[in-house]
Symmetry: C2
Subunit: 330 residues, 2 copies
């Protein structure tokens, strides 16, 4: 660490992360996590109540990989009133053989957004019916767009149509427009109930504490990827829907059961680490995943430090090799 | 965090940290910690057994101060065989009002060494007899030198003499020589027992697991600052000596009692968080500290994240103001 080998800004990082390569890395991270071939620290937290701010630090390493990551993410939610972004972050990549700093990635939180998008897309593709085409995205924020773009990019299915639903219809329409401008077939949904009924896949991306998706609206054969719930109290799916699912999956049971989408079912004693399937086990074929077209499957994602390690390494390697980049989504 | 405001290398940091200013900052950090006016995260750990390496991450903030710090410290103990330093580290300073990255301090662990040296010196000066002059330093490593240099710098006592004892007499002599070359009165001690008996102050800086300083060697009135013990199993002072002390002090009881010098006494139920005095309480005059010249006082230091925050802020402010720098020790 006499010096940091590589320092990259957000725009440089965006130019270096090939989405297909990033997806392969995230797939490996999920599998490694499921097989216990990872090292992950506790997530630590500092809070700054007066200014409505917080800082989370997490670190992780995939066994045998070149580098480990320390990710620092801040959220200061009064910032926009000063014209500043509320969320920021950076990833530091260190050599796992010498401890030297390999890279400082000043990604401003972008890598977290993308690894979440890629993780959601991989999960959706692994669990949805083979013939899925209608995808409903609940929420119209940044992550709604990332889920749509990553899924479209990774899918070999040319006929996917996206519907976007949000509490504010104008925001749903704006998000749909942005997707359309990139050649993705997308429209705003006005009626959440109707949209749920017709969806093959539902991807939820909101911070709601009042469940939005009711069990009676969801048809047999639907797959749901739940992204939004990430702290106690947040829940996007009606509790009955989780109980009704044929298969519940997650990236990390300890997180999903304590503060993710499965927290209510776990508190009621209806779900446990023994009954929730790691997504990595499906990706590695150690678990069959969906076994028929009538099953309802629900996957909850709360995010892994080894996803951060995986995408940081992808960026680092691309910078080292000067590899041309295709399929970047900014 | 669109960009980091300030990035400094070790040599630049060394030129910016005024030791007297740094000591004031460390004093405030100790007092804030004792008064509970701090926020500190758990220390997190990743280990890399195959290459004898580890990484620790800690973060902290002194209430009301401008910035909080995240410190990443690595130790990869096979590195020297490749011509690389084993210990490295960097400090990231963030604005406590916006979360923006104020400074990246690529100090290679130097700030940790110096804040430990300054903390030891402040502690020694607060607890030693007013007329102390003979200082024995046990150990001849980097921290032995920092303790001597910081104590000499902060003390108004012109008559301090240092003796250095180490298992390897040649190393003790080399350290003493380096101190002498900077005008500090220092010599190597050949007999640890004799040196202990004659010392007014003993500062221990070794990683030993076999206690070196025996109780019967320590005269009434001696103050001991114990720096070395920082994990389960490490212990520099005979257990009886800790029990015999009139006053046991530390920077953070939770650390000293679980994995610092007081771990054995705590495990035997002889010391607790109620009986160990925070150094900050003495520095703020909330506790009288030493009350007569016959008392034996022992202070154990395991290091605080708010010390890292304090010295990082000192460097940042010096860089911002372009303030001239006096009393730097590199």
């Amino acid at each position: 660490m006499r010096d940091i080998l590589l320092e990259l800004h957000k725009s440089e990082i965006q130019g270096l992360l090939d989405l297909s390569t990033g997806a392969k890395a995230i797939r490996q991270a999920y599998i490694a996590q499921a097989q216990g071939c990872v090292q992950v620290s506790e997530v630590t937290y500092l809070g700054f109540e007066e200014v409505n701010g917080d800082c989370h630090v997490k670190s992780g390493h995939i066994d045998g990989s070149e580098g480990f990551v320390v990710k620092i993410a801040t959220g200061f939610y009064n910032n926009p009133s000063q014209g500043l972004a509320s969320s920021n972050g950076l990833n530091l990549l260190f050599c796992a053989k010498t401890g030297q700093t390999l890279a400082l990635l000043k990604d401003e939180g972008w890598l977290t957004d993308i690894r979440t998008g890629l993780g959601g897309a991989l999960t959706t593709l692994a669990l949805a019916r083979a013939d899925f085409s209608r995808v409903l995205i609940v929420g119209a924020g940044l992550q709604a767009e990332h889920q749509a773009r990553c899924l479209q990019h990774l899918s070999s299915n040319p006929g996917i149509t996206f519907e976007i639903w949000a509490r504010r219809p104008d925001q749903a329409e704006q998000t749909a427009q942005r997707l359309r401008s990139d050649g993705i077939e997308a429209s705003a949904a006005s009626d959440l109930q109707e949209a749920c009924k017709q969806a093959d896949v539902i991807i939820t991306t909101t911070p709601t504490k009042t469940p939005l998706v009711q069990s009676s609206w969801v048809a047999p054969g639907t797959h749901i990827t739940a992204i939004g719930a990430d702290c106690p109290g947040k829940q996007e799916l009606e509790a009955d829907l989780v109980l009704r699912a044929d298969l519940c999956l997650c990236d990390l049971a300890a997180q999903s059961l304590s503060h993710g989408e499965f927290q209510t079912a776990a508190a009621a004693g209806k779900l446990s680490a023994k009954t929730v399937i790691p997504i990595g086990a499906v990706l590695s074929d150690d678990h069959p995943g969906r076994t028929n077209d009538a099953q309802i499957t629900i996957a909850d994602l709360t995010g892994l430090a080894v996803q951060d390690a995986a995408v940081s390494l992808s960026v680092y390697r691309a910078a080292q090799t000067g590899k041309p980049n295709e399929g970047t989504i900014t």
